[in-house]
Symmetry: C2
Subunit: 385 residues, 2 copies
């Protein structure tokens, strides 16, 4: 759609500045959206910390990230940050919420303008109560087709995008396998080690030990500095080099991936992915073209010898076609158009209402955390209009 | 004012049911207000837990108190609880918020109906940012003249009220002094002990050791089971008896009291108060009639011999005139009338705006907690219209 003059409010988190100087994935995505819309002519107001760097309009209630000054009261400033946006709601044609579920509860008292929420992930079953209660007021985008809740309607899947120019394409395959991310059983570093050992390949692991016991018990004993190498956390340049020169990225996750930015970064370097057929991985990786999808370690082991024969140009092309910031902005632009046309989301289908009555504690894979189940169940949110 | 048919939403906390079966002071006040307004003909909707007991309309998103089922996600249900109220804002002529500052941030996006917030206390300097940012949208009531912030305008002081029929009046003074509440230096139990020892009076202390180190170091060594007695926490009946038969309640608090329900309860039994001339105490106790106001322990010691000569009927009468639930409802009724007439609060005076720029970290006595001071100061909230 023609975004020219469209008054868009983009709500970013305030843990870090937008864009973040270091860690801060949601702040980064919010920046990419706000800046992309601005470049296409939208009149964007970014709600973020005061030390954020944005060429459009910036509105702030807090001078820096609450993660940067631990004595700032995050509860107070988060509430004021969101409250401020809705105080100014009449100034906008559309509000794009990148701050999880809570801003939707503020929107319940306001009927305009259309609100679009990107669901970056479901932390626990209990936040579904908030999504269900607010579904009449907010449109939703998912970050993959896989990471959708069947009780909700979605306008679009809006994959996160990267700037491919930040990644060096190498046409010639390297010799080693690489594992990137964090050491947690669900990320499958232990499976990457097994694959490397059974195929005689070198494995370079650059990751933070999030789950220290797992790292100590399952990973560390295998590190020999030769075949199985641990590089610690690597920064931008080293990471780029590590990915470019690899034979493949091994990503044998055991819990469904919500999106998987690392896979996209590897492919931008021309490096294919040896990954689990789980969650969003099949949406990112074209099986047999930009990597291989595997149901288990056995299958992965069998595919290793075929990795070098994959066309690394296809990997890069896949990213340039589907996973750039520009493609992400295209998708959001279409979602904005749909939201502006519909104004309010459709009523839920009977099937969706049935899903909303479901006991979500039986689906641990869908949530980041499964806290103990409450004795009592919520009342109205599940039935709210 | 004539409350008949006035559509009032009363927002209670959801930590406990309203009214609470045990602890839950804010829930109790919210119930007293909602029920009092209902009895006077208002069309009251109480927003509280589903297991609350209210003869008017009850609206709930959570089946029980989040303090009753620790696995309920308090953040989710608190947000939905408040969001639900504002979703229904158009159904009411007035919203009465008894849930601290956060609901005001929801109201920023809505201009109607009038909102009245009872400030039950300032927890830390940082929540002033929320009060200042939301002052254009919410009227305020304080629970004593003393517990006011000079940066804010108030509609009224609305003292909390009790039902005097729950307290047994005794005309004849007892022999012992009593200390009630919690062991924390600011409540002055150590000063009560000093007064008892210097005057040879017996002291009965019924309180919970909130500050255990203080209790261990400053209180416990003096407990002999004879002159200085420690009774632990006492429940309703024992508490009533303890107060009724006392010579006086000793309340030598060292931090300004916000209100002081215990003082009112003692006076309802006919028992005068030997208290600090600090915070709200001078508003509750009539010096020389229903007790004595003291600037220090020396003064208090001198007054002990005069306690028995005070007219205990005057103590009871003071409560019946000023500190009953009905008087509280009268005061709120007047505040509602003023809010309905003004619709939105007045713009802040220049003097108030100057106070809002004040560095509140130099006034620790005004706040329940003084967290470390942030390196950075908030931006817009302090200047918000």
């Amino acid at each position: 759609m023609n975004l020219s003059g469209l008054r868009v409010a983009v709500l970013a988190p305030i843990t870090w500045p937008t864009p973040p100087p270091g860690y801060g994935p949601w702040e980064q995505v919010a920046f990419n959206i706000a800046d992309g819309m601005r470049r296409r002519g939208a009149d964007v107001t970014l709600f973020a910390t005061g030390n954020s760097a944005f060429e459009g309009k910036l509105e702030s209630v807090v001078p820096c990230g609450i993660g940067e000054d631990p004595h700032l009261n995050g509860e107070v400033f988060s509430a004021l940050h969101v409250g401020r946006l809705f105080e100014r709601a009449a100034d906008f044609d559309l509000i794009h919420n990148n701050l999880d579920w809570k801003p939707m509860t503020y929107a319940l008292g306001t009927k305009a303008p259309p609100l679009l929420t990107t669901i970056h992930g479901f932390s626990s079953p209990q936040i579904l109560a908030a999504y269900y209660a607010c579904a009449w007021r907010s449109f939703f985008c998912s970050i993959s087709d896989a990471d959708r809740d069947p009780g909700l309607s979605y306008l679009a899947t809006t994959y996160n995008g990267i700037d491919p120019s930040g990644f060096s394409f190498k046409e010639k395959p390297g010799e080693y396998l690489v594992f990137l991310g964090r050491f947690h059983p669900e990320k499958g570093a232990h499976l990457a080690i097994e694959i490397a050992k059974r195929t005689g390949k070198q494995l370079k692991m650059a990751a933070i030990p999030q789950d220290e016991r797992y790292f100590h018990d399952e990973i560390e004993p295998h590190i020999d500095g030769e075949q199985i190498q641990f590089l610690g956390e690597v920064q931008r340049e080293a990471r780029n080099e590590l990915l470019s020169n690899a034979l493949a990225l091994v990503h044998m996750n055991t819990r469904p991936e919500r999106f998987g930015l690392t896979l996209v970064e590897a492919m931008a370097c021309g490096t294919p992915v040896l990954g689990s057929r789980l969650g969003s991985v099949p949406e990112i990786v074209v099986d047999g073209a930009t990597g291989f999808l595997c149901d288990n370690v056995e299958q992965a082991v069998q595919k290793v010898s075929q990795l070098a024969s994959l066309d690394r140009k296809a990997c890069r092309a896949r990213v340039e076609e589907q996973f750039t910031v520009e493609r992400m902005v295209d998708r959001y632009s279409d979602a904005y158009a749909a939201a502006l046309e519909q104004k309010l989301p459709p009523a839920p289908a009977p099937e969706q209402l049935r899903w909303r009555e479901h006991d979500w504690w039986d689906r641990p894979m869908a949530f980041t955390d499964i806290p103990p189940k409450p004795k009592t169940q919520p009342l109205l949110p599940l039935k709210s209009s």
